[in-house]
């Protein structure tokens, strides 16, 4: 009999031990404990008891659900912009912008608003989304002008990248040195906003026009940014970040030398046209009188037939921006054609077909009418 009672008591003790152990194991996941789930689009908190959900629903009816759930960038007291909603027995925080990668976030649930009697501190939930693999490093694929000899009063430079770049740091990533390796202090202007193409791949650097223009105060005080007949290098910093936040990874540089200043406008009349043969798809080739602005050459020239219709085809800028070729989509019918140039088209020193970069008052250049048309015949 004693043995029997002993067995019963031992069994009860054993079961209560197991029960206590199980209870301690599940302490963090009580049936009524809120559960967090986070995706890039939202943080949801669920697993509410009926009583808790009633409180949440009542707060939501008063449009006070924002008081319950906030999300922060870890270490920061300013909450993320976003909306809190109650959907399918869940409290949902939707950020204004999807959660970014590589940033530590902290969701904060004001539990004492849901169960005031609990006096429990806010429940915190940390989460992070790992960045996706970044792929190939961005390259600087070209610097224009291409020629290694440029006028001393060069006005701008284009940097062409293989992928979109990050704005806001360009002027700290470009430096010019002379052939002794000495830094040329700020030959360019830090114009804000930075001059990017819409796709973020091409950056336009403007040299200081106040120093290039004769008689302006910066020109008198500091002289032009570059001297004539001098060798320089432009160096692009490896730390310049692309749009993904990844640095270029390696330094790029290009050497160039300066010639005399160029104060002459380009003139279409001096261009040379090599006309193609009729009924062929030979290329039309145009040789300029001087290198022209690479950015504008992408769209500043077009070919019209005798009726004024634009000829379809594929253009290409030739070496050192000294020429332009055009391969038609269909064979050339014999006849008269016109090459039309945008009068804004500039040379490397900002002299355009329409006007010189600066004009000496009273000079004839100021009143010259731009000619932006060149006729040729296909036969």
């Amino acid at each position: 009999m004693r043995v029997k009672w002993f067995c019963v008591i031992a069994t009860l003790i054993w079961f209560s031990c197991i029960g206590a152990a199980l209870a301690s194991l599940t302490a963090n996941h009580r049936p009524d404990e809120p559960r967090f789930q986070s995706t890039r689009q939202a943080v949801t908190v669920g697993n509410w008891s009926d009583q808790q959900w009633n409180v949440i629903r009542q707060l939501a009816e008063q449009d006070r659900q924002d008081e319950l759930l906030q999300v922060f960038v870890s270490g920061n007291k300013t909450p993320l912009l976003g909306t809190v909603s109650v959907v399918d027995q869940q409290l949902v925080f939707t950020p204004r912008f999807p959660f970014g990668t590589g940033v530590a976030f902290k969701a904060r649930l004001a539990f004492d608003r849901i169960e005031p009697q609990s006096r429990r501190k806010p429940i915190l939930h940390d989460f992070t989304f790992e960045p996706s693999p970044t792929g190939e490093a961005t390259q600087l694929v070209a610097m224009y002008p291409t020629a290694n000899r440029v006028p001393q009063n060069i006005l701008k430079m284009y940097l062409q990248f293989s992928q979109p770049m990050s704005r806001g740091e360009a002027y700290d990533r470009i430096r010019f040195v002379d052939d002794q390796g000495r830094l040329i202090p700020e030959p360019f202007i830090r114009i804000q906003p930075e001059l990017w193409s819409p796709d973020g791949r091409r950056f336009t650097l403007l040299f200081d026009p106040g120093r290039i223009k004769r008689e302006l105060r910066p020109n008198r005080e500091l002289g032009p940014p570059f001297k004539s007949e001098t060798k320089y290098r432009v160096v692009i910093d490896a730390a310049w970040r692309d749009a993904r936040g990844q640095p270029l990874g390696k330094e790029f540089e290009k050497s160039f030398a300066t010639a005399a200043p160029d104060r002459q406008q380009p003139a279409v009349a001096r261009w040379i046209v090599a006309a193609p043969a009729a009924d062929s798809r030979e290329r039309l080739e145009v040789t300029f009188d001087e290198p022209l602005d690479r950015g504008m050459l992408d769209h500043a020239l077009r070919v019209l037939d005798a009726s004024g219709n634009r000829v379809a085809g594929r253009p290409r800028v030739l070496d050192d921006e000294l020429g332009w070729e055009f391969v038609p989509a269909h064979p050339w019918p014999a006849g008269d054609y016109r090459l039309i140039a945008d009068p804004r088209l500039e040379d490397l020193a900002g002299n355009s077909l329409a006007k010189p970069f600066e004009t000496e008052l009273g000079s004839s250049a100021a009143s010259r009418k731009p000619v932006g048309e060149l006729r040729f015949e296909v036969k």
């Binding site: 204004r96 700020e186 114009i191 990017w196 796709d199 973020g200 026009p209 223009k213 302006l216």
Partner: protein
Amino acid sequence: MQRGSIVATLVALLIGLSSAQSMAQEHLEILQRGSVALQFAGPMTFGPDGVLFVGDPMAAKIYALDTGDRTSGNYGEDFAVEMINDKIAAALGTKADEILINDMAVNPISGTPYLSVARGRGPDGQAVILKVAADGTISELELKNIPHAAAQIPNAPDENQTDRRGRPQRMLAITDISLIDNQVVVAGLSNEEFSSNLRSIRYPFTDAPEGTALEVYHGAHGRYETNSPVRTFTTITLDDEPYIVAAYTCTPLVRFPLSDIAKSEKIRGTTVAELGNRNQPLDMFVYEKDGENFILMANSSRGMMKISTEGIDRPDGITSHIRGGGKAGQTYDTIDELNTVVQLDRLNDSHAMVIMKSGESGLDLRVVPLP
């Protein structure tokens, strides 16, 4: 300059006539409620009645947005939000080096500063307009269902100006906008050709907004004539005639009559000052202090200038060299305690709202007295 009925409306509002309320409503009723998808939130300026003008250079458009913010606020001299860049980044769920604050405009009615911000520094960055309450709380100007109007910027790059892969490359970077009388005036520069176009669009915008692009030349000591992009500008009244005072990227400060803005041609401004090398003007406005008018101008590297307007109306401007590196034309004082200001707008007759650098990479938003 054409002065339509809306000018009368605005004047009536300004001088507080009893009929102003109904006229204001009429002016606002022109704005249509709907969603505005900004591609880029660039320079901004406030018009009357809490209407915010925003330049979107990617879309080559100016938007007029009714903020509905028409009650006076409480931004005192002690208003300061330190490390506003960190706080904005946190509100947008990102790091401080992933946001750009493009511009700040203060609503003259409420004093609320509005910030145009890019979340993400690449071309896919998201555009957002934030406002900062007097208690420092940051919230968003909701653009999903906002009364608004839009106008295309005249003579802006068109989508045919692409590279050989068909990608548009040319863009007009907007540097400043302002509502002057019934014209939204836009300063900007192309990422290709070098030019000086001030564009203006009549407001309220019509279905086919009229616009002009004005080329402003300036002289260099009577010998050369040239032009370059305008970085920032303001208006001043001289002998009862309104003038624009424009600060150029190549440093001259140039004056020309506002009536010239309606001309779609080349005009010549008068150089009234040259403000020094290795510097870019950032923001400017005219204010009155002790019975005199001054121009307050924030600069990229030469600090905050308080520029005297005495003699700014002289007919010839600067015509000769100032030897020995002296200041040419209008004189100015540099306000040392404001030398790190990067964004500037008028708050009221006695104070300005500024964003200024703080430490290595911080930016503080604060109210400062006008010097």
